[in-house]
């Protein structure tokens, strides 16, 4: 008993695998083929049927043995993805004809993937690079499995293309319509978002410094700013489109309004963040308002300002895309999404969403990197 360490994932995977064997063929055509032996029906999983069962069972059994965690993780990683690959590869050409064993095997593979993540997250390597790698690999496997299950289920169950295209089709669509996507990105992001983001955040920052200088203004603006952050500001989009026309200027205006208040509130809070002790020290150095602002209070406010910049990076994209729902020239991400939905080109919509997600993450990532470089002294950066 000492040599075995059964995990519930492995046990459950083996059980599912055995049920799948008992239930018979993985896909429906094989049932027909077996029913009429003389016929020449083509059916999937001719060569790989037993390979799938074999790999799944073998990997599940191996993980129960007492082997080093790293080896176990590698075996699980290869096994789980091999099974998924064989399953998805085999169903090609027979979409929508999968039977219950297909989904049982998929669940089994997913359980092995889960076990792999569990093993990986229990690892506590000493080397710093290994810890960093683990921090990236674990969520990556999780994300990959979302895509795998999405692909396998949409194709296995034959979900209509219009409802939910498989990720591979979306990927093909992205690769096939790069010029269109590029033009949309240029219109929405490089014209509307960047301009609005810079102007809106800049205006919020300047207003905050002004409000900090005039206490009356601060007491009046801060509650209003907090209030406004709860309001559906996105609703000004139609008004801006009316005022500034269909081109990118109206979208930039929406972005300016949306990014102004988070920046204002956060910067005002940040300017109050420097401690009394430090401010007193600056006073003993006989430094005036401006040196204190530049050398003490703005650096102390930097984490708050970057927080606002991060919030704004998402808000800016949302503002620009939603504003395009109200009317645009025939280019732009929001325009593309709303028209392709109308034309039932759902894969194009998903492609646009994927690109928007990627652009949003890159935007956020750039701000976060700049933050790390600028606020290198902050405990949250030093500690991590």
């Amino acid at each position: 008993m000492n040599r075995l360490k059964p995990s519930w994932q492995a046990v459950l995977a083996i059980t599912l695998c055995l049920i799948a064997v008992a239930l018979g063929p993985i896909a429906a055509p094989k049932v027909d083929a077996l029913a009429q032996p003389s016929g020449t029906l083509i059916y999937p999983y001719v060569a790989t049927n037993w390979l799938i069962f074999g790999v799944l069972l073998l990997v599940a059994l191996i993980t129960m043995a007492r082997i080093p965690s790293v080896v176990e993780a590698v075996v699980l990683f290869i096994g789980a993805h091999l099974v998924a690959w064989l399953l998805i590869g085999g169903i090609a050409g027979f979409e929508g004809l999968a039977r219950a064993p297909y989904f049982l095997l998929l669940t089994g593979a997913w359980l092995l993937g889960w076990r792999c993540v569990a093993v990986l997250s229990s690892l506590r390597p000493f080397a710093k690079w290994a810890r960093t790698a683990l921090r990236l690999i674990i969520p990556a496997i999780f994300g990959a499995w979302i895509l795998i299950i999405w692909e396998a289920v949409t194709r296995g169950a034959g979900i209509p293309f219009i409802l939910l295209p498989p990720p591979s089709a979306i990927g093909a669509r992205i690769a096939g319509s790069l010029p269109v996507l590029g033009a949309d990105i240029r219109q929405t992001i490089f014209k509307a978002v960047i301009f609005g983001y810079v102007v809106g955040s800049g205006a919020g920052f300047i207003t905050a410094v002004l409000a900090d200088r005039v206490p009356f203004l601060r007491r009046g603006l801060l509650p209003i700013g907090n209030m406004v952050s709860a309001l559906p500001i996105i609703g000004v989009a139609p008004i801006m489109v009316m005022w500034f026309g269909f081109d990118w200027q109206s979208k930039a205006a929406v972005v300016i309004i949306m990014t102004f208040f988070p920046m204002l509130v956060n910067t005002v809070a940040g300017l109050a963040a420097s401690g009394h002790m430090e401010r007193d020290l600056m006073r003993t150095y006989a430094s005036g308002y401006w040196p204190t602002l530049l050398k003490l209070r703005l650096p102390a406010a930097a984490p708050f300002i970057f927080n606002a910049l991060k919030i704004n990076s998402t808000l800016a994209l949302i503002g620009a895309i939603v504003a395009e729902f109200f009317g645009t020239p025939v280019v732009g991400m929001g325009f593309r999404i709303s028209t392709e939905v109308g034309r039932m080109n759902i894969d194009m919509v998903w492609a646009e969403i994927a690109v928007a997600a990627l652009a949003g993450s890159v935007f956020y990532g750039v701000v976060a990197l700049v933050e790390r470089a600028v606020t290198f002294w902050h405990p949250s950066v030093r500690g991590g």
Binding site: A118, F142, S229, A230, P232, T314, I318, G334, A357, G360
Partner: protein, 292 residues
């Protein structure tokens, strides 16, 4: 008395300044169109007549505050609630999907947070995605969800509520993970010395500690939920709701209608945040919290 001097006076004076500026801009922005009208009618109006006219156009570029107020009052109090022009009716349509989505989102957020706090695998694999998902312009998915669900025959309240759910569960998850982890080592050790089980530690220490975090994040979530419901009404050609009202106003250039729909949305948002805040204070008091 202090709140009166420190808060009320500055806030009201700044709001008054905004209203004055609004009037000034209403005159400035509406003047070109009014001059155009006058020229066509072969009229020459004096300066004061011009100002009067710019503030009473039927479809102004920027409606004056009193026009919006009159429109808002008419559509809120004077129309029968069942009329589809009534703002109360439209606000209710939006509010119902907001509340449904908010309830789902809060429940989902709490469940995910509990999972993340208790299962190490979820913490390391799911948490990065939750944080990353905040960088994604989720609202872009809104038309998608509505069309997809509409194609399988689900329409009306549920798709909009799903967008609200999607938007509102992130803040709750992040806030609750922080809240459930907020008990200090000392308190956890104390529970350990009492030989408390995991469930007991959870119910008697972690949950009470997380309540303030829950209500703070619920305030953010309810505002996000309302935005989700409004945007969810945009691309579908929904017949009712604040978002539909905005879209209809944009199509027919009824600028006063747009503004009063915006005001209605803001009132709903302020009420929702206020209700959550009051609920938070009541729960805090019922749990024996002392005013800090």
């Amino acid at each position: 008395m202090d709140t009166f001097r420190d808060k009320l006076i500055p806030v009201t004076s700044i709001l008054a300044g905004v209203v004055v500026l609004w009037y000034v801009f209403a005159v400035i922005l509406n003047t070109p169109f009014q001059r155009d009208l006058d020229r066509r009618a072969n009229e020459t109006s004096t300066f004061s007549e011009l100002i009067g006219k710019t503030l009473s156009q039927p479809k102004p570029t920027l409606p004056a505050p009193h026009q919006v107020a009159v429109n808002f009052f008419e559509n809120t109090f004077l129309r029968p609630i069942t009329s589809n022009r009534s703002l109360v009716y439209n606000a209710w349509v939006t509010l119902s999907s907001t509340l449904l989505g908010f309830a789902f989102g809060t429940a989902l957020g709490i469940i995910i947070a509990v999972g993340i706090v208790h299962v190490a695998t979820l913490d390391r694999s799911l948490m990065p995605w939750i944080i990353a998902s905040q960088t994604i312009p989720i609202l872009a998915v809104a038309p998608m969800i509505i069309v997809v669900l509409g194609a399988i025959g689900i329409s009306g309240l549920i798709p909009k509520a799903m967008i609200s759910t999607y938007l509102s569960f992130f803040p709750v998850t992040v806030g609750m993970v922080k809240g459930l982890r907020s008990p200090e080592i000392m308190h956890l050790d104390l529970m350990h010395t009492y030989n408390a089980s995991r469930a007991q530690t959870f119910w008697k220490l972690r949950v009470p500690a997380s309540v303030p975090f829950l209500f703070t994040s619920m305030k953010v979530a309810v505002a996000a939920s309302l935005v989700g419901a409004i945007v969810g009404e945009l691309p579908t050609g929904a017949v009712a709701g604040i978002g539909a009202k905005l879209l209809a106003g944009a199509y027919y250039s009824q600028s006063i209608d747009i503004w009063s729909a915006l005001v209605a949305g803001s009132v709903v948002a302020a009420l929702l945040v206020m209700v959550v805040g009051i609920a938070g204070r009541l729960v805090d008091r019922a749990m024996g919290g002392r005013p800090a």
